[in-house]
């Protein structure tokens, strides 16, 4: 399954980068979203996949019993998801404002600051 996910991550990266290289600012945001999914999934897969064994200590036990899913990548990803959301929200509002002021969604029209 990890190989399948490796291919999926590659596909997400390709799609995300392609979208980020478009001239439309909305596509840029969508590309950014795809890219952050790809990165999270990459970290997740790198921590190795274990089916159905969340890192929860069973009642009565003192420690996690093998096998268990690696908790560290999960902690990293949890942070990344939340931060990614913050970035996404900020970017979305920013492009809204940019569009209101500049009147275009074409990044090529936003090359110079002094023309505003």
């Amino acid at each position: 399954m990890d190989v399948v996910l490796a291919i999926a991550v590659g596909g997400l990266y390709a799609a995300g980068l392609y979208m980020m290289m478009r001239r439309s600012i909305v596509k840029l945001i969508i590309g950014l979203g795809l890219l952050s999914h790809a990165s999270n999934l990459l970290i997740f897969t790198m921590g190795r996949l274990i089916r159905g064994r969340p890192p929860l200590i069973a009642p009565g036990a003192e420690a996690l019993a093998e096998p268990y899913a690696d908790p560290l990548p999960q902690a990293l990803i949890l942070t990344a998801i939340v931060i990614g959301f913050g970035v996404q929200a900020f970017a979305v509002v920013l492009i809204k404002r940019v569009y209101e002021i500049v009147g275009t969604d074409d990044l090529d029209q936003m090359k110079r600051t002094d023309e505003l």
């Binding site: 999926a8 908790p71 404002r97």
Partner: protein, 768 residues
């Protein structure tokens, strides 16, 4: 330890100098001079100990693991240099206070020159290669400020930059050389390195280290072909020229070579590079000194020549040569300091530095003329001056050289003869003969302007008449340090009739001849278009070409990289990543083995991945904004499902919540933006597709490479074992977030808060 404190205090005084000057006003030069004077006394008090053969070694740990310490090592060589730096420094400070009296930035000047003095003292007292290098660079930096002191003039700025670039590049070479030396010797402490010359000279690092260090020393000490910055540096105020470019800065390279000669010296490569380079500089510098008519430029070229002689002598490396080098060092510091200060005094009184327009000043300023006369005597190498003794020693060293003594002595006579002529031009011509100037109110400059030259010029004579008081012991211990073994030197004015004396006589005759023939020689040079030829092919031109090339390169690469288009920046980043990461990817297992790991996937897992793939394609290809947002949402939910299946319920819950919010937000905003239109052409889309696929492929390959190696996490077992016992939590992921890595989470919350403030501000912002 007191010496380290002294260095620190010097820099502190430099920092406070502008304020102090504002308080002291007129007397500031005299007051500031007390500090180097105190240094002279402190160093002088060490002299007895050092002369008796007991060097001072202080270590203050800095980065001891790397072998870098702030060590001080005072032996005879450091002692001689430190005395010159602090002694002449005191005179120069007195002089500057008067010379720049009404200058707006005199306070700043004190800052720079004290900074320079501290760096120079640090350089010669350092006992560690790295701390020495730090001080070395500090002298480059502070001399940049000093040369460019009159920063409103373009020439001054250009000269300062030139000095900085040339010595800075040499400094880089020096650093590499010093590190190689440290590698070869296993230590960066100079005292320890000095004891292992034998092993170092046979090390494979020897040749590269030597070449790099020699480049560093040659740029600093203005050896051909790096000499051109020194005459240009005459843009500096005259006391600076006197200090930096006769007694200190340019001597740093000489110090370095002398310091390392017990370690690096004596080999054929050393003699070829150091002695050869020095010999060429000696002759060319002396010839070039006849050319200019500006007093300071003449002196600058003669300095180049003397630096060449010093380098040559250190390169020769015989006991006689070391003796001659140290005597010449002392003599040169005295007479060149004096002559520069005299030139400044003349300039200060009359405002002219052109020797063709100066004459007969002696009757107006007899004291200055006396100082100039004594210094010129020493420069010309006439008795009874220390310059005479050092020139005799030079001839002796040349006559006793192992290879071609006749040729060496011949070039020695040529260069010294030229310097005799130069001494006449700068030391005698302005003061004797018919007064050219008819200015009525010509008079002697004030005490502070003639004290320095008179003392230095007088010292040049006194040291020679009674050498046993100061000159002999100082030079003996310096020579001992250069040779690495105790040596006793007895300087004498009168050696009796010997070949050196005959050569001296020849020199004076040649000098008189050059002096008389100078106009004629200049005429020949002008007819041969020598100046034009130098401007076209000289090293200065090479320097300019290099700067132009650098600028052109910078412009070209900025044009290439800074296009102003976001997607080109992205492309450069992606391409660089592909090149750097992609080139390291090796997949150790055959591809067929991967197949089994695809087949082990459960059907429902595959369905999720396929759905995500379709949604991704849709997000890329659709022309509807809402469809793209929805597709992005599907991908996100797919990811969340995968989290759930592979033991990450926390991630799944968060992902579901965040994805829902994102989709809502996007829908709300995107709806107000224009519809997708096709903006880029077909070829651009194809190019981007290829690049994106390459990047994606690389990421897949990278993951496969990592996955083929087993993961041995030491962190996971730690968290598994300690989560409950240490942090009282059963959900290990949560424990990591709020306990083990709680600070990260705090940072994350801060980021979110900042983003929220940003969003709020953007929404509330009113556009006019």
């Amino acid at each position: 330890m007191n010496l380290i404190l002294g260095l620190v205090l010097t820099f502190l005084l430099a920092a406070l100098a502008p304020r102090l000057h504002a308080l002291l006003k007129e007397t500031s030069g005299w007051v500031f001079a007390m500090w180097p004077l105190a240094w002279t006394i402190v160093i002088g008090s060490l002299a007895q100990q050092v002369i008796e053969g007991d060097s001072v070694y202080i270590r203050y740990p800095w980065m001891s693991q790397l072998g870098v310490n702030l060590s001080l090592y005072v032996d005879g060589l450091s002692l001689l240099f430190a005395l010159l730096i602090s002694g002449i420094g005191a005179l120069v400070l007195i002089y500057s206070g008067s010379y720049l009296k009404r200058h707006r930035y005199l306070g700043r000047f004190y800052l720079f020159i004290l900074l320079f003095m501290g760096s120079m003292l640090g350089l010669v007292l350092s006992g560690n290669l790295i701390s020495m290098f730090v001080f070395w660079e500090l002298t480059s930096l502070s001399s940049y400020f000093l040369i460019g002191f009159d920063h409103e003039r373009e020439e001054a700025r250009r000269a300062a930059l030139q000095a900085m670039v040339v010595t800075g590049m040499g400094g880089l070479a020096l650093l590499a050389g010093l590190l190689l030396l440290g590698q070869a010797g296993g230590t960066l402490e100079i005292a320890a390195l000095l004891k292992q010359g034998e092993t170092l000279r046979t090390s494979p690092h020897y040749l590269p280290a030597l070449a790099l260090i020699v480049i560093g020393a040659f740029t600093k000490s203005a050896q051909v072909p790096f000499h051109f910055w020194l005459p240009n540096a005459m843009e500096a105020p005259t006391p600076v020229s006197a200090y930096l470019h006769s007694a200190t800065m340019v001597k740093a390279g000489i110090y370095l070579l002398a310091r390392l000669s017990p370690v690096l010296g004596g080999t054929a490569a050393w003699q070829l590079m150091v002695a050869g380079g020095g010999l060429v500089t000696m002759v060319l510098g002396a010839i070039m000194a006849l050319g200019p008519s500006d007093l300071k430029r003449i002196l600058a070229y003669s300095t180049v020549s003397t630096l060449g002689t010093l380098t040559f002598l250190i390169g020769l490396g015989t006991p006689l040569a070391a003796k001659a080098a140290m005597a010449l060092l002392l003599a040169h510091a005295m007479y060149k300091g004096a002559l520069f200060l005299v030139a400044g005094a003349v300039d200060h009184e009359i405002g002219i530095r052109d020797v063709r327009r100066l004459g007969g000043l002696g009757q107006f300023m007899p004291v200055t003329a006396t100082a100039a006369g004594m210094a010129a005597l020493s420069m010309a190498g006439l008795p009874p001056s220390i310059g005479f003794i050092s020139k005799e020693l030079l001839y002796e060293a040349q006559l006793h050289a192992l290879h071609s003594p006749t040729l060496l002595a011949g070039t020695g006579v040529l260069a010294s003869g030229l310097l005799v002529a130069v001494a006449g031009i700068v030391g005698l011509r302005p003061f004797f003969g018919h007064p050219i100037h008819r200015k009525r109110h010509l008079h002697e400059p004030p005490l502070s302007l003639w004290l320095g030259p008179l003392l230095l010029g007088g010292a040049g004579i006194a040291l020679a008449i009674v050498p046993e008081i100061a000159a002999s012991p100082l030079i003996s211990t310096a020579v001992s340090a250069v040779l690495g073994k105790p040596t006793v030197v007895e300087l004498r004015l009168w050696h009796g009739p010997n070949p050196s004396l005959a050569l001296s006589a020849l020199t004076v005759i040649a000098g008189a001849g050059f002096y008389a023939a100078q106009p004629f020689l200049l005429d020949i040079a002008a007819r041969a278009h020598l100046k034009e030829w130098m401007a076209r092919w000289g090293p200065q031109r090479g320097y300019e070409r290099m700067l132009q090339g650098l600028n052109a390169l910078a412009t070209a690469q900025t044009r290439l990289l800074q296009s102003g288009f976001l997607r080109f920046y992205l492309m450069i980043i992606v391409l660089t990543t592909i090149a750097l990461v992609g080139s390291t990817i090796i997949i150790p297992e055959p591809l067929s083995r991967w197949l089994s790991r695809i087949v082990d996937a459960r059907p429902y897992e595959l369905i999720i991945v396929v759905l995500m793939g379709v949604a991704t394609l849709m997000a890329v290809l659709t022309s509807s904004r809402l469809a793209a947002v929805a597709a992005l949402g599907i991908v996100g939910y797919g990811v969340a499902l995968l989290y759930m299946l592979f033991g990450a319920p926390d991630l799944a819950m968060t992902q579901f919540a965040v994805e829902t919010l994102t989709v809502i937000l996007l829908v709300l905003v995107v709806y107000r933006l224009p519809r997708f239109t096709r903006l880029s052409g077909r070829s651009a889309r194809l190019r981007d597709t290829a690049l994106a696929l390459a990047a994606g492929g690389m990421m897949t390959a990278l993951m496969l490479m990592v996955l083929s190696a087993p993961l041995k996490s030491r962190l996971a077992p730690f968290f598994a074992a300690n989560s409950l016992t240490l942090a009282k939590g059963r959900n290990v992921v949560n424990v990591i977030l709020v306990d083990f890595r709680a600070l990260d989470t705090l940072g994350e919350i801060t980021v979110l808060a900042v983003a929220a403030i940003g969003v709020y501000a953007l929404l509330k912002l009113r556009t006019e």
